[in-house]
Structure formats: C-alpha cells, structure tokens
Amino acid sequence: MLYREAGQFKASYRADQAIFPIAQDRFVAMALLVIAFLVVPFVATEYTYRAVLIPTVILSLAAIGLNVLMGYCGQVSLGSGAFMGVGAYAAYNLAVRLPFLNPFVCVLLGGFVAAAIGIVFGIPSLRIKGFYLACATLAAQFFGDWAFLRIKWITNDTPSGSVNAPPLQLFGLDLSSPTANYLVSLVFAVVLGLGAKNIVRGHIGRQWMAIRDMDIAAEIIGVLPMYAKLSAFAVSSFLIGVAGALWAFVYLGSWEPAAFDIDRSFELMFMVIIGGLGSILGSALGAIFIVLMPIFLNQALPPLGDVVGWKISTATVSHFESMIFGALIVFFLVVEPHGLARLWLTGKEKLRLWPFPH
C-alpha cells in the first residue's frame, strides 16, 4: 500500500544488488538509524538504557554472530555463551596486561581471539554434523565455564574471581555515561552488523548457505567444506566475541564467569530461532523480543496475579518466562521456522501487492 515501486528500475548491478533495492525500504532504514542515533539519546532514561537499549543492542550483535553460524552455515552451536566469555576475558587480559591499549581496541582484539578459539572448536564440524556437533560446542561451553573459573591467570589472580573493566575513554573523552555506552555499542552493532550482511550476500555467504542446504552438492561444485565451515565459525565467533567484550566492558563493568554460562548460550539460540534463522534483521528482532519479554512479564504478571488473588513471586515469573520461551521455540519451529523476520517479510509483501491479494 505504501510502496510505489513503479519507476524504480535498476540500470546497474550495483543498484540491483543493494541491501535495500526499494526506495521506501531505504527510507525506513535511514529513518531508523537517525532515530537510534539522534533521537533516542534525548529521550532515553538511565533505566531504559540499562534495562532495554544497551542489552538489546549488544545481544543483537551476538545473535547476528550466532545466526551466521546456525542460520547461514547450518552449524548448531550451544557454546556461544562461552565465546562471549572468551571475547570478554581476552579483552580484559589485553587491557590489564597492555594498559596502553584503548579499551575499544581491546574489545576488537578480544573478538579476534574469540575467532581463533572458534576455529579450534569448529574443527570437529569437519567430521561431525547435527547434534553431534551441538554436543561438541557444549564441550566448548563447559570448558569455558571451567577455564574462566579455575584458571587464575585468566582472571589475573583476582581472589573473588570477579573482574573489572578498564575505564572507558576514547581520545581522552570519558565514555562511561549510559548514553555514551549506548552509542558506542550501537556503533559496534551497526558497523559489524553491516559487515556481516555484506559477507552473507557475497560469495562466502553463498558458500555457507550451500553447505547448509546441501553439503554434498556444495562440495561437488567445488565448495571447500573446511574453508566454508571454519570461516563461518571464525566470523561467528568474532562477532560473538566482540559482543561479549562489549557486554563485559560496557554493560556489566565488573563480572563473574556466570555471566557467560550455558543459559547465555540458550538465550542467544532462542533469539536466533525466534528472530529467524538465516536473517540478520531477524537476529535483531529476536534480541529485542527476548530482552523485552521478561521485562514485560515482570510488569504484567504480578498485577494479573493479584486480579485472581494469586501472589506471583519473581521466581514464579521466571518459571513462566522459561515456559513461555520454551513454548515459543516449539511454536516458531512448527509454525514459522523463519521466525519474526519471515512474518515481517510476509507483511511487507502484502503491502507491496496491495490492493491485490497475491
């Protein structure tokens, strides 16, 4: 209905292959960016930053990372929590051992360390598939949990095992305010997200999807399974690692190994499934959904409970939460395996065809 595509013809392949070939979409995307960067900072409160905006942004980035691996390359991973941890602790160590490095440089480097580790734990994927691989990634998760907890060197021998991020500053200006935190995370998320989008629509992305859709055929037309899979692991771990480092430095400030345990892995997996496998946009939608849902439940359930005269504790709320998430996962896998992203697309198609039904 709002689309006016007549006259939007493509005279070059560059235009034809653009991320947003349709002018109206370009406009919306631009508008969103403007809002996120210029409007939000003026309206958001400390609470919204801490509870909603920053987690959403950072976890979106992590979800994009996981989606690269699961959604595009079809390799299931239950170890993403640990890889966030790797990013976080790597960045931490770089920061404490090489104090002259800017924290954000450390964040990036943390990503690269995570990528390296990712490749190592990706090697099994060359021999094994499906849930065998899932188990392998679980190994990564548990090994991570253990290492963060027990290998004192990683936590720089801090007795409590909890570590603190270095003060955030760039070119001398202090970035510790919530607004700054938010904007920094947003920059990382947008830039790296764009990068991921570019990769998945390029030939490497096509190799991943080929492996995902039919690995045998892929190999027979000359895709190197090893290169395709390991590159997916690397890119995925890099993004997740950076997200982890941001999570630690920007969001948590000081943290313990528990921040990156298996529940984080599941959380990310839910974002990807609910948001939509094989969709960058979906990853973000998933993150938003998963972050907002608990907040919503915490607001909504107790009052509802009171109505029917039933005292609902926060514990109960969390139980409901896991029930609802569980149910949603099944629901999406059954009804719409491509998640919120596909729902969004279907809606968009309807708008484009309006007033015709199809």
Binding site: A6, G7, Q8, K10, A11, P355, P357
Partner: protein
C-alpha cells in the same frame, strides 16, 4: 564514450534525424537515450554511445554497398539496435522499411519485393528464417544482418550486427568522413521512411514520409502535451506502426525522450511496472485486458479489501475525471479522493506501472466510455487521439481539460479539418505524406492536388470544435432530406443496451430511419422472468407487448441521445420491429465475425423492410432457417411494427 565529435559535427540545420543525433551527442552526450532490459538490468545507452553505434553501422552499410535512396528492411521486436540501424540507413540517405514482426512470409515477401530492398536487418532467428525463405523468390534481397545470434551459428551467408560495425570501423579508418559527408547531404524534404499500412483491403500500401513530416509531427505532438527532455517511454508496439515510429523514434530525437525496450513481449507488463513511463500509448484492447486482470485479481481478495475497492472505484468514476479536467470539486470530495489515492488509486496505478504517467493516448478502434473513464478515474491522464499513417499520426487529440469519451478531440496545430459533402473527414497538415511508394494511382485517390487527404472515415465537428468519428465513410448514407445516416453509429448505440443483441438500421434513400431489432434471448429472458411474464418460445417472447414496450423505451433513449447531437438530430429511428428469429451466421445474416450483413438482410427480409416503410401496422414473415443441429426448416409468423416519436433537437449543453 567517443573522443571526437561523431560526424565531425558537420551538419548545421537540424532537419534530419542523423543531424539531430549529432547535435544530441554533442550537447547532451551523456544523457540516456535508449534502455533495454537485458541480463537482469536496464542496459542504458547514452546519446554519444548511440551516435557512435549508428556511425559505425552506417559505415558498415556503406561498405556493403548501401547507397542513397536504398531501402533497409527492419524486421523484429523493438530493440535499440534496430532503431539505430534505421538511423544508420538514414545517415546514408536511405530509407528504413520497418515491417510487422508477426507478419507471415507472404505479406512480408510482398513488402520486400515492392520496396525493392537489397538490405534487411532482423532481430533473431525467427525473422531471419522468414527472410531467407523470401530471399529464394526475391533474389534482389542480398544482405541479411541479424542482432541476436542465438541459434544462427550454423547459418551461411549472414552478417551479425557486430560484423557490419567491424567493416564500418575499417572503412572509417581509411575514410573518416564516409558517413559524415553523407549525413551533411541530407535535407528535411528527403524521404525518411516507408511505412506499409497493413491493408485491410487489398495489398499494403507504402506511405513515404519525409523528415519534414516526421519532425513536424514529433514537435507538434510534444508541444501539444508538453513532453520534456527525459520523459520515459516504453516502446512495445510494432516498429512498423507509425505511432511507434513517432513516439519511440522521432520524438526520441526531437524531445529527448528515453526509449525503453522491454525484455520480451511476455514481460511487457512487468517491465512497464519497473520503468513507470511518464508518456504512454495503449490500444483499447490492451486497456480492456488490464481492467479484466485487475477485476480478476480483486475477486480473490478478502471481503473488506473488495468492498473498499468497489466503494472507492465507484467514487473515483464520479470525481476522478472532474479533478483531472480541473473542474469544480467540493473540498470533502477532494479529501475523500486523497484518501482513495492512498488506499486504492495509488497502489493500483503503481501495480499497473502508471504512477508517473503525465499523458497517455489510446487510438485505433472506438473505445468504450466505461473503459476509458476507468483510467481517468484513477487520475491517469488518458486521452484519445485520431490519426493516420498518411498524417504522420496526429490529426486530433483531446486537449487537457476537454476530454470527452465520445469525441476524438481537437485538431492539433497546423492541421486543417473539413468534412466532405459525403460526410467524410478530410485533413491537411505539414505532416501529410509525400506519396504511396510506387503507387501513383493510390496516391491520387487519397490525396487531392491541393494536399487534402481522404481519411475514409465519416464524422463531423461539434461546435466545441471536437471531431466525432462515426463510421467508415463508405457505409454512411443520406436520407432523402439529405440528413446524414450512419447505420453502424446508430446500431452501436442500440447495442449498448443489454436487451438488444443485434440491430439493423435502414434509411439510405428513404424518408426516415427504421430498424430491425434482434433481442438478446437470455437478457430479455430473465428480464421477463423477474416480471413473471410467461413465454414458451423465442417467437412468443419476441412478440410480447411488454418486450415491445421495453425496446421502444430504449429506442426513445437512443433518439434522445441523437437529438443532443445536432448533426444526427435528424437521423432518429421512427419505426421498428422485433425479429421473430435471431440473426444467425448459419443463415448468412451475419459474417463469421458477427457483423450484420446489411445488404443481404435487406434482400432476405425485403417484405419486412417494405412493411416498415409502407406504414402497415404489421408484417408477415415466412423464411427458411437452419437450426443448430443443421436441420432446415421454416419459421413463419406475424410481427407488429411500432412507431417511435422523434425527439426535438436539443441544444448541446448536456452532452458528454
């Protein structure tokens, strides 16, 4: 794209297309001239590229022995390279002869032979095959050039477009002015092109148009509707049709339209949508098909959408045209229309690829008002134009704000119109063709010494200055009192009523007009049922008083219409009868394409015709018929004849 100015920029007066091309290449060389949907995108060629292509191809032709005055057959679907080859031929002072790509070998063969062409360029294998076959019987056709190589690999003795240009390049290397010098020789009065009119009767005739003709037409048309540089046009109509030649070729050079060639005939709708032209032409049947498609697709829509659609469309039919014509529309209506624009009209135009249209023409056959108005209602500036090959298209067009579905508009600048004493429309204009190629007799028959051209259409001008075309001139007769009598015109008016299947009007050499009515069994049938009028057979139904009343009412309505029309006011239906049997092709009363054979019917039902004019109240019929199953038999019965009151001629106002 090109280092040196093509043709050395030699030409001064821009009176031929090759010269105009030079100018464009120099002044706006980097602006898009042609686009073609190929390999997934709209490949774009700017003017300097076109100039280069044309020069090379022209040189190639010259090298192959193409001389001033030679003819180049152009066969194929609209393709940039074919358009360029035309300009190349013209550069050398030759004449392109575009032919209908779907014409069968016989037709094509006649044209090739009659045009005496030695050269031909074809789009693809399909066309090449035809030309090769012709070549056997027409040896003069010596050089065959193709654009699309697919499947031609193993053919002998063909040249590809590229081959020709390669030759051209070599020639230009030695003789840089090979083309430029020829271009400089061209004058506006030279023959530019031969367009063969697909003859409805007899052999096709090749109308020769000069540069002056075409350039006048292109300029006048552009001025009339304010076409501008950069307007987009989708060229999908046959290149052999004068309309396409003016819109996609002449106006390209004159106005700087961008000519967009679809990927294939099959993808036109989609390509139209992508390009979203600002300037559009479609024959009535295309417009009709589009509406049908829209209706069909809307049928599967949900109830709400459907209601929304119907509601807003109904509203638009009322308000849309008024808005387009800039007439008074209440604020509320404007607001409501805006809403419709957002919800229905906009998306619909978008889906049809008509969002950006500034002016659209339809012509050819008479277009039904409801079809015509559908587009105006949506806010598409749809107009009728009346034109001919012999006129370089433009004779009349609907001016903005004066669009009446019952007229074909006003004469464009420099066009003089007059109505011959037989009622035939004649015109004179700078666009009038030079002659029919190698056919002085036909030329003499069509074009008077002082330059008036017989259109062969009967029509008249109303006092708004609008031309009405009513019928083919040869069918038009006169009553004894000299009033114009156009049977088809009247019959069509009658046939607008669902209850009337066919009608036959008489009046030539009589005092008044009388008509046979052939009722539509099904329509009248359920009309009768809803009034629980019982009947057992066609004959019985046809002779019921109620039916007579019904038909009489409708005839009076027609008379009323006619009375508004001061030309036709005199030619009203005074008597009629309802035939006891349906007119039938098996009885030779209709042609196979269901056109009434007036003469034959007049013969067969002579008694009835006489009865209509001798004032008798009834007439007896006894006639042999052939039933569906082929059995022969006779029908007989008596028919009452009714008189209808004539309406007093009323002054115009209420018209349109």
């Amino acid at each position: 794209m090109i280092s040196k100015a093509p043709f050395g920029g030699g030409a001064q007066i821009r009176d031929t297309f090759p010269k105009l091309l030079v100018e464009r290449a120099l002044t706006c060389g980097s602006q898009p001239a042609y686009r073609e949907k190929e390999f997934g995108i709209w490949q774009t060629y700017d003017w300097s590229r076109v100039a280069r292509e044309v020069e090379l191809f022209a040189a190639g032709l010259a090298d192959l022995g193409f001389r001033r005055g030679d003819r180049l057959i152009v066969a194929g679907y609209n393709r940039p390279r074919l358009y360029w080859s035309m300009c190349a031929a013209q550069s050398l002072g030759g004449m392109p002869v575009p032919v209908y790509q779907d014409s069968v070998v016989e037709e094509l063969s006649y044209v090739v032979e009659h045009a005496g062409a030695h050269f031909a360029i074809a789009e693809d294998q399909e066309q090449i095959d035809k030309l090769l076959e012709i070549k056997r019987s027409v040896p003069s056709l010596s050089v065959l050039i193709y654009d699309e190589p697919r499947g031609l690999r193993h053919y002998e003795g063909l040249l590809s477009y590229g081959d020709v240009q390669a030759r051209g390049e070599r020639l230009l290397a030695t003789k840089p002015d090979a083309v430029t010098s020829e271009v400089a020789k061209g004058k506006g009065s030279d023959d530019a092109i031969i367009l063969y009119t697909s003859g409805t009767t007899g052999r096709p005739k090749g109308a020769v148009l000069s540069y002056d003709n075409l350039i006048w037409a292109a300029k006048t048309g552009a001025a009339f509707d304010g076409l501008r540089d950069g307007d987009e046009l989708l060229s999908y109509l046959p290149m052999a049709w004068v309309g396409d030649h003016i819109f996609s070729y002449a106006q390209g050079y004159i106005v700087g339209l961008v000519v967009n060639c679809p990927e294939s005939a099959a993808t036109v709708m989609n390509d139209l949508r992508e390009i979203g032209p600002t300037y559009y032409f479609a024959p009535p049947r295309v417009l009709e098909n589009l509406i049908t498609q829209v209706t069909i697709r809307m049928e599967d829509a949900g109830l709400i959408k459907r209601k929304l659609f119907q509601n807003f469309m109904a509203f638009a039919r009322r308000v849309g045209p008024a808005l387009l014509d800039g007439r008074e529309v209440s604020f509320v209506d404007r607001l409501y229309y805006r809403m419709g624009e957002l919800l229905v009209y906009g998306p619909l135009k978008n889906a049809l690829g008509m969002s950006r249209i500034r002016v659209a023409y339809t012509a050819g056959e008479a277009v039904g008002p409801e079809i015509f108005n559908f587009y105006r209602a949506l806010g598409v500036n749809m107009k009728q134009l009346y034109g001919q090959t012999e006129a370089s298209v433009f004779v009349t067009i609907h001016p903005n704000g004066e669009v009446h579905s019952d007229t074909v508009g006003k004469p464009v600048a420099d066009v003089e119109l007059k109505i011959g004493d037989t009622g035939e429309v004649l015109y004179r204009s700078p666009g009038v063709f030079k002659e029919y190629f190698k056919n002085p007799q036909a030329t003499k028959d069509t074009k008077t010494p002082d330059g008036w051209v017989h259109t062969g259409d009967a029509g008249y001008l109303d006092e708004r200055g609008h031309l009405h075309v009513i019928d083919r001139a040869r069918d038009v007769g006169k009553l004894n009192d000299g009033t114009l009598f156009a049977p088809k015109f009247i019959e069509n008016k009658l046939k607008f009523f669902p209850h009337i299947n066919e009608a036959v009007a008489f009046g030539q050499g009589r005092d008044f007009i009388a008509a046979f009515i052939d009722i539509d069994m099904t329509a009248v049938g359920d009309w009768a049922e809803r009034r629980n009028i019982t009947y057992s057979s066609y004959q019985e139904l046809a002779s019921r008083d109620e039916v007579y009343d019904l038909v009489q009412g409708e005839i009076e309505q027609v008379n009323r219409d006619l009375s508004f029309d001061q030309q036709m006011a005199g030619a009203q239906i005074r008597r009629f009868l309802i035939l006891l049997k349906a007119l039938d092709a098996d009885d030779g009363e209709l042609t196979r394409t269901n056109k009434v054979r007036r003469g034959f019917i007049a013969e067969r039902y002579k008694t009835l015709v006489d009865a209509l004019y001798d004032g008798s109240k009834s007439a007896r019929l006894k006639v042999d018929v052939t039933f569906e199953d082929g059995r022969k038999g006779t029908i007989e019965g008596t028919m009452r004849i009714r008189d209808v009151a004539a309406q007093a001629a009323t002054p115009i106002r209420k018209a349109s």
